[in-house]
């Protein structure tokens, strides 16, 4: 993960000269053993980048899982990622949400902050402003639960850093298309 967006290959080609972009792919797969390993192995084997990956079964009756992958690369690399994913046998569909539909992206984070006095009050005040919930508290710490676009979580974490940030746990992005239609 987090390999450079364009691997420094000696075969650096005519393709891949433009700037890297972030894309979110929504992948519907049969929830069979090893399917996640196939997807992850494809990314590592071909030098693609994974910035975030979430997976869960979404239709229990048909055992369909949705994998949401945030990747980055030039438009050509992202197109290659999509085609390579489509080749995998247990995959139903691959949609580039960034390209094709207006999508909503959300992530959940739990943020542990330790501090006393003014810092503690400030942390709580900022949490309120971000609509974070306090889900655990001691006399010297809070754990905040925060949902939102990844950017909002980044911002919140940055604000907590000087106030006694201890650690962060994030789920990665889940995404869905807007409007009444499925993707």
């Amino acid at each position: 993960m987090n390999a450079p967006a364009t691997p420094p290959s000696p075969y650096s080609s005519a393709i891949g000269k433009s700037n890297p972009e972030s894309h979110t792919l929504s992948v519907l797969v049969d929830n069979e053993p090893g399917v996640l390993a196939r997807v992850v192995g494809l990314f590592s084997g071909r030098g693609f980048n994974i910035e975030s990956l979430t997976v869960a079964e979404v239709t229990h009756e048909t055992h369909l899982s949705r994998i949401t992958i945030a990747t980055s690369g030039t438009p050509e690399v992202v197109e290659q990622v999509r085609h390579q994913l489509e080749r995998l046998v247990p995959i139903h569909s691959v949609t580039d949400l960034t390209l094709t539909v207006r999508a909503i992206e959300r992530e959940l984070a739990m943020v542990k902050v330790r501090g006393k006095g003014e810092n503690r009050v400030e942390a709580l005040r900022l949490a309120e402003a971000f609509r974070a919930k306090v889900i655990d508290a001691t006399t010297e710490s809070f754990i905040f639960e925060l949902t939102g676009a990844p950017r909002k979580i980044d911002d919140f974490v940055e604000l907590m850093r000087p106030l006694g940030l201890v650690e962060v746990s994030r789920t990665g992005i889940a995404a869905i298309s807007r409007g009444p239609e499925p993707i």
């Binding site: 075969y11 080609s13 005519a14 390993a37 055992h63 050509e76």
Partner: protein
């Protein structure tokens, strides 16, 4: 995702279904799929399947001497027949030994079904004897793989494996069957033409795109067809449609190593193979063309040379059944997803009905350029009456086997390139070589596979003395099944291609590329019950080759050739198509060319 998917019980179940064990299902499914020959090696975890094989005589099992041999033999069988090749190996080392062959089949898109035994389900993960994570190990070297966890799933998975291996872009599929599943009893039935749940490759090309392609072709002034193994894989129809289209248009055509034979080499529109050791005319036509029509090839680095100087002034059309091949290495102007045969059929039809015509004066001028390149005679070499030149040996082999029903396999290296340059093919499925992976040791087992499929044909493995030793044990297989394979070794005592690169890139320091203590190949042949022939004098060569051809059983032909010969022409690493090195026929070839490859080129393979 650790959850085991709860597949519905086999939907194919009907009145036709029969109760049998998992091992019997394997045999039954292979028969239902029309398999006649399988290659394998027994072991603890596949004993029930071998027992089921013992109880029938429809399936012919070929006992190899190493599982890698089984995989390559299955490849040779598949490549020479167009059918799916099948191998059966045991768990652990059986499976890991097959990995090279599976990877080879993946890179060359050869349909294989590999059945591996596995330790019983309750022992999986316990580091049991001869246990390995076959599914994990083969995930990245197969098109798809399955671990069978329930007897109810076995019939479906077996038939799915054949469907996946042979549809879309073909490739190897592994079915890993734990021993307890082989013993378990369940219902088996076979229903033809089931639709796969998710895998349904598009075979028909977009007609709008094909129309556009035909328009581009009619406008082209300097067109070239660049074809590949996809045409051979698509089947004989694709080859005949390709011939029709090329003749209709009058365009020149070249092909990759894998695609040789799809278009007849004897035709005057044929430019010869392209790529690193391709012909001067093919590579220059690729560089200077204004329209490239790529059919079933994948812009491999051996083909393109330096990418940013690859065919800089051309529009490119790419027909491929695998969408991920389009725009992977080279950006094309028009991608057409579909099977070659279907797309070519539409192209031929549209070309005829639209009465499209090539730009005749421009085309004549283009052929004029090509004729100038042809005049370089880039496959030429300096003949000798004292020592056998390897190119001469291949040429004589070609001339003396002409008109016969011949299948050629090769190992990997200089001899492989010389075979591609100097042996000519007029039909598809006659040429079997390890193109993508470059597997030394491919040729002999592949020849065994091809000979099993074509018992009365002349099957020749054009080999090098280093490569052949990698799977020499398969001579024992050839002996057991009385397969009259001919091994034609161009023996220069060097790993020739390694030596050539050391000469070009590493100042002639031949580090470990010379083989001391080679076996006496004539005696080795005799040890395997075969005929050994040695030839070192050009004057004796024809008679010796005739003797080989006339021998009704296996032959190892030890052809002692010029040790210093280099394989030319050559696009040096990091160079473009129009920067080819040609053999210097006047002087000592190769000595001055070390400086041609720059530091960046040395980084490449």
């Amino acid at each position: 995702m650790g959850k085991v998917a709860n597949f519905p019980p086999n939907r194919m179940e009907s009145n036709m279904s029969k109760q049998m064990t998992g091992a019997e299902m394997v045999v039954e499914a292979l028969k239902d799929q029309g398999v006649e020959v399988l290659f394998g090696y027994p072991g603890g975890a596949v004993l029930p399947i071998y027992d089921a094989i013992f109880h029938q005589n429809k399936l012919r099992h070929v006992l190899v001497r190493h599982e890698q041999g089984a995989a390559h033999a299955a490849e040779g069988y598949a490549r020479s027949t167009g059918k799916v090749g099948v191998l059966l190996v045991t768990s652990g080392p059986g499976a890991t030994n097959a990995v090279t062959g599976l990877t080879d089949a993946l890179l060359d898109s050869i349909p294989l079904v590999c059945i591996t035994g596995q330790v019983p389900t309750h022992l999986i993960g316990s580091d049991a004897f001869q246990e390995c994570d076959t599914i994990g190990i083969t995930r990245s070297c197969t098109k798809h793989n399955y671990l069978v966890r329930r007897i109810e799933d076995l019939p479906r998975i077996l038939h799915e494996a054949f469907y996946v291996a042979s549809n879309g872009r073909p490739g190897p599929v592994v079915v890993d069957i734990p021993k307890d599943i082989q013993f378990a009893t369940g219902a088996y039935s076979f229903q033809k033409n089931i639709q796969h749940k998710t895998y349904r490759p598009q075979v028909k090309g977009d007609i709008g795109a094909i129309k556009h392609a035909v328009e581009m072709m009619a406008k082209a002034r300097k067109p070239v067809f660049y074809t590949g193994g996809g045409v051979v894989n698509s089947g004989p129809t694709a080859s005949s449609l390709l011939r029709e289209l090329v003749r209709l248009t009058g365009f020149p055509i070249t092909s990759t190593l894998m695609g040789l034979g799809a278009y007849p080499a004897s035709d005057e529109q044929w430019l010869g193979m392209l790529g690193m050791h391709g012909s001067f005319e093919a590579n220059n036509a690729m560089h200077d063309c204004d329209l490239m029509i790529c059919v079933g090839a994948r812009f491999d680095d051996r083909i393109t040379g330096r990418l940013d100087a690859f065919s800089p002034h051309s529009k490119k059309i790419h027909i491929d059944i695998d969408p991920s091949s389009i725009n992977k290495n080279v950006k094309v102007d028009l991608g057409i997803m579909g099977d070659c045969a279907h797309v070519l059929e539409d192209m031929v039809r549209l070309w005829r009905t639209s009465a499209a015509k090539a730009d005749a004066p421009a085309l004549a001028k283009w052929w004029g350029h090509i004729d100038q390149w042809r005049a370089k005679n880039s496959f030429a070499f300096r003949p000798s009456s004292k020592i056998i030149k390897p190119q001469h040996a291949v040429r004589r082999l070609y001339e003396l086997t002409r008109g016969r029903d011949v299948y050629i396999t090769t190992e990997v290296g200089q001899h492989q390139m010389w075979a591609a340059q100097h042996f000519h093919f007029d039909e598809p499925n006659r040429w079997m070589t390890s193109g993508g992976l470059g597997t030394m040791g491919y040729g002999l087992p592949a020849a065994i596979g091809a000979q099993m499929a074509h018992p009365d044909s002349l099957v020749i493995d054009i080999a090098g003395e280093a490569s052949i030793l990698m799977n020499m044990q398969e001579m024992s297989t050839a002996a057991q099944y009385r397969l009259p394979v001919k091994i034609f070794i161009l023996n220069n005592q060097y790993m020739g291609m390694v030596r050539q690169w050391q000469e070009l890139l590493h100042g002639g320091r031949y580090s470990e590329s010379y083989t001391e203590s080679l076996p006496d190949f004539v005696k080795l042949a005799e040890a395997y019950g075969a005929r050994g022939i040695r030839c070192s004098d050009p004057a004796d060569l024809d008679a010796a080759i005739r003797e080989m051809i006339d021998t009704p059983h296996a032959v190892i032909f030890d052809c002692l050739v010029d040790q210093k010969e280099n394989c030319f022409p050559m696009i040096p690493s990091g160079k473009a198509h129009n920067e080819m090195l040609l053999a210097d026929l006047g002087d000592d070839a190769g000595l001055e060319i070390g400086g041609v490859i720059d530091e960046k080129g040395k980084m490449l393979v």
